[in-house]
Symmetry: C2
Subunit: 210 residues, 2 copies
Amino acid sequence: MSRRGILTVVSGFSGAGKGTVMKELVKKPDYKLSISATTRLPREGEIDGREYFFLTREKFESMIETGQFIEHAEYVGNYYGTPKQYVEEQLEAGYNVILEIEIQGALHVKEVFPDALLLFIVPPSAKTLKERLINRGTEDEAAVQKRMNRAVEESQFMEKYDYLVVNDKLNECVEAVHHIILSQRDKVKYNTGFICEMQRQLKAVQEGDL
Amino acid sequence: MSRRGILTVVSGFSGAGKGTVMKELVKKPDYKLSISATTRLPREGEIDGREYFFLTREKFESMIETGQFIEHAEYVGNYYGTPKQYVEEQLEAGYNVILEIEIQGALHVKEVFPDALLLFIVPPSAKTLKERLINRGTEDEAAVQKRMNRAVEESQFMEKYDYLVVNDKLNECVEAVHHIILSQRDKVKYNTGFICEMQRQLKAVQEGDL
């Protein structure tokens, strides 16, 4: 792989199915899920460098200070963040890197990486979203209502994203996301090197040097 | 089909194979090639409304005056142009409309339709381009040189396009173009109606009205 990969940030309402979409996506070649760092302790079965990079609070804070996170936040006393170095290395190696983060983090990534592709995964309708949340069967009515409230808030930011993909049929949604990402590589702005080389070659052929 | 189609303008060096790419592309559903209008006389086998809309000079000029062309030009005493109405009707009906025009015309289309997608089809290398032109066997060395000179000029405008697609293997190129066009439909800017409706629905569900 010679071309730099595409950095994609995926957000969406809880219940939109973005986790499932991404699980399918990374089965394709050339994709890597970004691995977050956290200060919380590993749960049973979690492996450092697979689920998370597990860091001490001291280490995490020194990485914040030296600007080594693309974005980070603190939840319930623990830090969570996206280490810049891992993402950079994978992109450089030609992998398309996917970050799953919520809206404020996503918009922040766009500031740090203006070329990042922001995707928002939506259910076909609000009613479907509520049904999906209820059918999970893992949450009571109050928790479902809380997620719906959050979706109302989050829906105000949908227009800040680059692409909106409806997750109606899983397979179609995965393919749509895949092709949006692939298409980025053909954008003129990612091919200025190729353009330059083509102009040089054409001149050489014109002058009989090739 | 409920969504408006995508208008795509395809350009490329003579010999890049864009004609073949487009012939394959319009075999897919939901695509329409734009039909140009001309004042030249129909050749044997050409049918009005299929190869061209054949117009009198008087009619053509009155259409220019009333702004009914997206772009038009005069070659060797005859007018050629892209009628706006036909393109509008097909887009409105949900078809993706493809225009194959040269660079100056393409950049003009972008002025009239800022949402138009500008694609540039390129050969993998300048050498391949020359080989393809020679292998056509229909042109002498001087004509090939003339086309190469033109490619050198045209290559200065590649950066004005939105996407650059390399035509190495025909099938791959056709699929790449197809997916670039499909991806456009998921852009947030084409889905403001959906976003608005989703925000409305979420509020209704939140308030228990749905």
